[in-house]
């Protein structure tokens, strides 16, 4: 059975189902009992204080405690509100969570799921609008999940909570109200499998998380100009589905990567490098990265719109490539 759910409801459904299924799933974080973002609403009333509880505001301890609690046999879910707060809890993320399994020669498993909102577009200004996943990707020992639909949100979160590794589940800011069809009950989305959101033969647009929506809008606009765009949603950045992307680029010969994170050493840069190394022969033009520039997110909504990738920049990038190819063959 399928029902229409908001993304935030799909996350809530996943948490309810996984906490019911496994009494070892324990949730904590700042204000999780009232759940200001809504994704944890009702859990405290249903499961009680031993399963979900508010913590002090102390990210260094929240992330470190996850490592200890997971080592003691629990499946830990931590809500960190905004991905900017990873920075405050970074020691345990970078030095413990990402490394302890290797450091102990494989003695520990760390089933930890960290949930946080990310991205701009809500006038939350610079310290609440980062897309702080490139730093996680760089650490090597963390799964990074960027669902763009309610169904994927539910399926990826359930897979993460059942998993045996640390996973970061990133909820796109302002996308909690996104509505989509969600399969009821057991719906698991495997990691490392991209979704082709739209098929097309002229250019590949890989869009991450919140960027899938403008990418699809750009594809609609380009279709009207006779340009067929294939839109790929990687769904997870670590692990990353290279095969699906390379197959698409082999078909289209062009790649645009759309990433809300900043340009420097970002996800788009990594993905561009993969394609440059492994499918250079298939490329008919340069790879284009459409990202937020290397700036702090401004507060003013018009300034936010100026820096965050949108439909127009994607359309322009695709046209620059397709036009270039046409010129080259002319």
């Amino acid at each position: 059975m399928v029902e229409r759910r908001r993304l935030i409801q799909a996350v809530n459904d996943a948490l309810f189902e996984e906490m019911e299924r496994d009494p070892k799933v324990v949730v904590y974080g700042e204000d999780v009992e009232l759940s200001i973002t809504g994704d944890m609403r009702g859990l405290h009333e249903h499961f009680g204080h031993d399963r979900i509880r508010n913590t002090p505001i102390c990210e260094a301890t929240l992330t470190g405690m996850a490592v200890g609690l997971a080592s003691a046999g629990y499946h830990v879910v931590v809500h960190m509100m905004f991905s900017n707060f990873f920075y405050t809890g970074m020691d345990a993320i970078g030095n413990q969570m990402a490394k302890l399994r290797l450091m102990t020669g494989g003695q520990v498993e760390l089933p930890i799921t960290i949930i946080a909102g990310y991205g701009g577009g809500s006038a939350n200004a610079a310290q609440h609008s980062d897309s702080a996943y490139p730093v996680l990707m760089n650490l090597g020992g963390l799964n990074v999940l960027t669902p763009s639909t309610p169904a994927d949100a539910k399926g990826l979160l359930k897979t993460a909570i059942r998993g045996r590794n640390p996973s970061f589940f990133l909820e796109a800011s302002g996308r909690g109200g996104e509505v989509g069809d969600v399969p009821d009950g057991e719906h698991l989305v495997p990691f490392g499998r991209a979704a082709v959101r739209r098929e097309g033969g002229d250019a590949t647009v890989l869009a991450i998380g919140r960027m899938v929506k403008p990418a699809l809008a750009a594809a609609d606009a380009l279709a009207e100009q006779g340009v067929g765009v294939e839109v790929i949603d990687p769904r997870t950045l670590v692990p990353f589905d290279e095969a699906s992307l390379l197959a698409s680029v082999e078909k289209t010969g062009h790649l645009v990567v759309v990433d809300e994170a900043r340009e420097c050493c970002g996800a788009a840069s990594q993905i561009a490098a993969i394609v440059a190394e492994k499918a250079f022969h298939a490329l008919a033009g340069p790879i284009r990265r459409i990202t937020t520039p290397n700036v702090a997110m401004p507060y003013a909504p018009n300034a936010e719109r100026h820096v965050i990738p949108g439909e127009e920049r994607i359309v322009a990038a695709v046209l620059s490539l397709v036009g270039r190819a046409h010129r080259a063959t002319a």
Partner: protein
């Protein structure tokens, strides 16, 4: 320094006034094992036989041994970058630790962790840790888990005077008090924050930081294994019975440098006097010698000789084992990052 100030609540929770004669012999043997293992590491490091840095615990053995005497395999400890003593005191295997430091496949972490990360999760040793203060939050998490388990397991968190200046100490004192976690904070005040005397970088008394949270707090002579044992008896019993966290500040002294070969990086720079170090190696200060003197006074000379021979044999065996081990498997670096299950 020799004064022992034990908070009334900690004292009341203590079950006995001190270790029995047989227990004191065990404490001595364990301290001596840590000492002899580390003396060998010191020598092998100087001889260039060990690939990485070693941070030695020489002079602080009474703290780990006195606390861990009250813990079993099911209890947890978190440790520091100076972690060999905690590993051995908690029952870690000497051969496996030595092989780890020698970067061998037979090492407890298969050569992937080294001296600064020795861990044996099966014995509740959640790992030495290269980040000063990192064990505090990990210990709070383990203690939270055992509180949820509700079966009386205890977590002891070893950290130093250096870590006491990390903000995470305040966070974990707050949270563990609030949640009544079965946690024993053990601050090993060895008077040095790496290469800086702690008094230059530390305001107030460290134990007062715990007192501010209303936490039962004991300040003990950390070179007196009996005093540490007594304070830990109370703190562990309190945690085990659901009474919440306690704090022990053990005053001790780091005889070796921050790490072996520090003279090389200091290039002539000094942060303490040789005479000060020499004073702490005397029979009235050194924790191993002090315990030995107590045992000799009670007429245990023959037993002590037997212990010393046994410990030396154990150390020789561990070094032979490590030396003869297989080099670590480089492929583990890739295969061990994730448990391969999802997707």
């Amino acid at each position: 320094m020799a004064t022992t100030v034990i908070d009334r609540r900690t004292e009341q929770a203590g079950l006995r006034s001190g270790p029995s004669p047989a227990e004191l012999l065990e404490l001595y043997e364990r301290m001596l094992l840590v000492r002899r293992v580390e003396e060998r590491l010191r020598d092998d490091s100087a001889a260039g036989k060990l690939p990485g840095a070693v941070h030695l615990y020489i002079g602080e053995e009474a703290v780990a041994v006195g606390v861990c005497a009250h813990l079993g395999d099911r209890d947890y400890v978190t440790s520091t970058h100076r972690g060999h003593g905690h590993f051995l005191a908690k029952g870690g295997d000497v051969r496996a630790m030595m092989a780890e430091i020698w970067a061998k496949e037979e090492g407890i972490c298969r050569g992937m962790g080294g001296s600064m990360h020795v861990a044996d999760v099966s014995k509740g040793i959640l790992g030495a840790n290269g980040i000063v203060g990192a064990g505090l939050a990990i210990a709070a998490g383990a203690a939270f888990g055992t509180k949820l388990d509700g079966d009386g397991k205890v977590t002891a968190c070893f950290f130093g005077d250096g870590a006491s200046n990390q903000g995470v100490l305040m966070e974990t004192l707050n949270l563990s008090t609030l949640w009544e976690l079965p946690l024993v904070f053990v601050c090993e005040n060895n008077t040095f924050s790496e290469f800086t005397p702690s008094r230059e970088v530390t305001a107030g008394r460290i134990a007062d930081r715990a007192r501010a949270f209303g936490m039962p707090t004991a300040e003990v002579d950390g070179n007196d294994v009996t005093a540490v044992w007594q304070a830990a008896a109370g703190a562990v019993a309190r945690a085990r019975s659901g009474g919440g966290p306690s704090f022990i500040e053990a005053h001790t002294y780091r005889i070796q440098g921050h790490f072996e070969a520090e003279a090389f990086v200091l290039s002539g720079g000094r942060y303490r006097e040789d005479a000060e170090i020499a004073a702490w190696t005397q029979e009235d200060k050194d924790p191993v010698l002090r315990c030995r003197a107590t045992l000799l006074a009670s007429g245990a000379a023959d037993v002590l000789h037997a212990i010393e021979a046994r410990v030396l044999a154990q150390v020789d065996d561990a070094v032979r084992f490590a030396e003869a081990g297989t080099p670590a498997d480089p492929a583990l670096a890739e295969s061990l990052m994730f448990v391969r299950d999802e997707g």
